[in-house]
Symmetry: C2
Subunit: 93 residues, 2 copies
């Protein structure tokens, strides 16, 4: 059975899967602003849409669109601005 999760009152939803040997989620973020914390390394790839991201220890916001990826190390937090509904793939580890 596939596991689903939701965050931020249902404005972010995800479905878990295995990506090769690594756990992953594919999900959608609705329009909004979010802060996430990582418990392990995450590689986030935009599948459709745009994530505007302030990475840990960075002052600047950076845009990631379809196919672009960014990495967040474990035990960090990062901020996201989402202007259009955006699908993403997050691979853990």
């Amino acid at each position: 059975m596939l596991t689903t999760n939701e965050y931020f009152d249902g404005n972010v939803k995800s479905i878990a899967l295995k990506n090769g040997e690594l756990p992953a989620t594919v999900g959608v973020m609705d329009v909004g602003e979010y802060s996430f914390g990582t418990s392990e390394k995450e590689t986030m790839t935009v599948v459709s849409g745009e994530l505007v991201v302030k990475l840990p220890d960075q002052d600047e916001w950076k845009s990631f669109t379809d196919g672009a990826s960014f990495i967040v190390e474990a035990n960090k937090s990062f901020d996201l601005k989402v202007g259009v509904q955006t699908a993403y793939l997050c691979v853990y580890g």
Copy 2:
């Protein structure tokens, strides 16, 4: 609020979003074999994993892996074999 759907007893789950002007879903298929019918044109892209597909009116199975897409016209059915949990993006219209 983001809308989720599930099919085939929860072995396929999806989350709806807008992809530019077009409706779309991102989802996961668990290991299994499935037949889908289309009510409108669908462009399916493999995000992570592999879909082995028999397209409408075709006799041969064809493999699609990360980043690969196929199109199914409206009012057709197609068959899928899924050997590893696979994330996909489906854009309608």
